[in-house]
Symmetry: C2
Subunit: 207 residues, 2 copies
């Protein structure tokens, strides 16, 4: 097992551990994912994981940092905010859902950075869209950004149920759920203002 002497051809053990952790965290969640499984999936021993990262929480933060860097790189390129959001969800969607969703593990402080970054992307996307005119501005743009993140991540948050619903294929589930979501984004759902009224927005709207 000459995994070590391959510096260029294969990934280094440290990189393999991070990749494995990103995968196991995405599949099982932070709490349910075990150091032993992460190590096994990376083809190393459990002790090496703690040797490189010290603790499970530190490994998680390394994974988070990897995602944050991915977002920053896409932003530095002249990618549009909408495309950044699409790409980060396409690559890290399940991971983000596990970390941002209920029970992301380790109390409430962890992964707050991830949510902030996504929020920043959504804010930029909304500002961009409002300037270009292809996006309807909201009475509360900050909440609109949060809602945009919410609805974008939501399919991954319930991916297991949607997969079962779609007959066992996760890709098919995402594709199928994207249809009514696209319709929602384009036309809305209701034909009157009763929901706005229920939210107490009739006064502002009618003016």
């Amino acid at each position: 097992m000459s995994t070590a002497p391959a510096p260029a051809g294969d990934l280094t053990a440290r990189a393999r551990i991070i990749a494995s952790a990103l995968d196991r965290f995405a599949v099982h969640g932070y709490d349910a994912a075990t150091m032993r499984d992460i190590a096994a999936h990376a083809g190393v021993s459990t002790a090496l994981v703690t040797h490189h990262f010290g603790t499970k929480q530190a490994l998680r933060e390394e994974c988070d940092a990897r995602v944050v860097r991915f977002i920053a790189e896409k932003q530095d390129a002249s990618t549009s905010p909408a495309e950044v959001l699409n790409q980060v969800l396409g690559v890290f969607g399940p991971y983000l859902a596990r970390m941002l969703g209920a029970g992301g593990g380790s109390g409430g402080e962890a992964s707050a950075v991830l949510f902030d970054r996504l929020l920043a992307v959504a804010r930029a996307m909304i500002a961009d869209g409002a300037a270009s005119g292809w996006l309807r501005p909201s009475l509360d743009p900050e909440a609109q950004a949060a809602a945009l993140v919410l609805v974008s991540v939501a399919p991954f948050l319930m991916l297991d149920r949607l997969t079962a619903w779609a007959g066992g294929d996760a890709e098919e589930a995402l594709r199928r759920i994207s249809v009514p979501l696209a319709e929602l984004y384009t036309h809305g759902l209701t034909t009157d203002d009763r929901l706005l009224a229920a939210a107490g927005l009739t006064a502002e709207v009618s003016r």
Copy 2:
């Protein structure tokens, strides 16, 4: 089973355990919630919980059944599907999010009934709305029902992050996020068809 002789003033221990389990599962999730914490919150010993329900999974199923019964009761009353969805989310929103969300615990089979019931309510709501004309029909009504459940549960799925985002108050977070969601339901978000095009629906739409 003579549950009747219980003193009318207080709940029986069994009922207190179920209520405590519903609360702890909602707060910590299935895996993170411990039998000891559930028992302590109910004011009983851990052994009594296993005595009444046998296993943790059985206790969970009892909680699920409680929610299912709540939905059935609301449906039997002449409540509109939309109101049923509102009420069940208002009462069991956090619990449903924990159980339906990623990492609901115990593999993938559990709580499938809950999702089915919500889906049925959403289907009825869509059929009702389409008949009344206050709701835009989708090209894929079944997926539309799933999306409706998804977006309705989503705020509870990320309630922790939204609470932090809103400054620590969960109620305020839900209230604030409901504004752009109501706008989304009413007007949509975009002003053109690019999202429908991206979903490959332009042909169907243009026809």
